[in-house]
Amino acid sequence: MTPDEPSGLDGNAAAGVLAAAFATDMTTARAVCGSCDSTFVLAEVAVYLGPATVCRCRRCGAVLAVLLERQGLVCTDLRGLRDLDVSG
């Protein structure tokens, strides 16, 4: 499951919805891809904006997280992230 075309955006563009979900800045948070084991800060992930914000691993393309914001609530699916470390 890989994106059809490369994303023009990275995790910096998802900083708002991430901050809304976690109540803190998440762009400096470190995490590990559950599919390929690469390590990164969330600012570096590939981001796709649509009805939801989709974060994919820049190396293997796996879906790391899906965030859907509606009426002040954020539905957050961190299906592909491992070892999310907010302490930066």
Partner: protein, 251 residues
């Protein structure tokens, strides 16, 4: 302080358009008055939310162009063809209009004057915007850390903030170099090609100076520059990247 701002609950608030400046044929700066703006750091973002009459909402994140401490929050927006938000912001918005914003946002692509390492800014196209906030704050605070900027644009007409950059480049502690990738005017003495290895060696602080490096532009530009920097010995941990572009195609 941004540290305080980030711990605030992130809420949407109204902003009034107070100023519009056409920077190029496809780029416009939008000056906003935001009540109770908590302040921001150079490089941070603002989320903009637009609501259609039928209730449909679209939101996007934009880099803040104004330096910390400025009275207005200025966004500089490039029209993305077929974009959902940018054509409205850059073409249709009028002084006096109200939009919804939230911010400041982001702690990764941020520079503060407390960072005393030599500062290296590398911009591709509208990637100049957050780097301009850094350069403006650098100029305003008179920090002793020297700064170099390498800015790649298609042509001179596509150079955003051209007059201001020319003025800043006259300062002793500021070095601004332009690379024009498609068309250069007669007698052009800057670079007339895409950023490459020799250009990085010449225009960027060498790795031995341990600069703090910010790279912002389209994805391919950012990846190319980051690779060139690492190839020339720069510490990957000292390179901060931000990718600009379309909303990302099919997710």
């Amino acid at each position: 302080m941004a540290g305080t701002a980030l711990r605030r609950r992130l809420t949407w608030q109204p902003a009034t358009v107070v100023d519009l400046v056409d920077e190029t044929t496809s780029v416009r700066s939008i000056g906003l008055e935001v009540d109770d703006w908590p302040g921001h750091d150079a490089g941070q973002h603002l989320d903009v939310r637009l609501t259609a009459p039928d209730g449909y909402q679209a939101q996007r994140s934009y880099s803040i162009a104004s330096p910390p401490g400025s009275r207005r929050v200025v966004l500089t927006v490039q029209v993305v063809p077929d974009g959902e938000v940018s054509p409205y912001l850059a073409r249709s918005l009028a002084v006096g209009d109200r939009i919804e914003v939230r911010g400041p946002i982001g702690g990764y692509f941020v520079w503060t004057p407390a960072m005393t390492a030599p500062l290296q800014l590398v911009a591709g196209g509208s990637g100049i915007v957050p780097l301009a906030a850094m350069l403006r704050q650098h100029a305003a605070t008179g920090t002793r850390s020297p700064v170099r900027m390498l800015y790649s644009a298609r042509s001179l007409a596509d150079v955003i903030y051209r007059d201001e950059l020319t003025a800043l480049a006259a300062r002793e502690d500021v070095d601004v170099r332009l690379a024009l990738t498609r068309a250069a005017p007669p007698g052009w003495t800057g670079y007339g090609r895409r950023v490459d290895g020799p250009m990085v060696e010449e225009a960027v602080w060498p790795a031995t100076q341990a600069p703090r490096v910010y790279v912002c532009g389209p994805t391919s530009f950012v990846e190319t520059v980051a690779d060139l920097l690492v190839d020339t010995g720069h510490d990957p941990g000292a390179i901060r990247t931000e990718r600009f572009g379309s909303s990302g195609g099919t997710p």
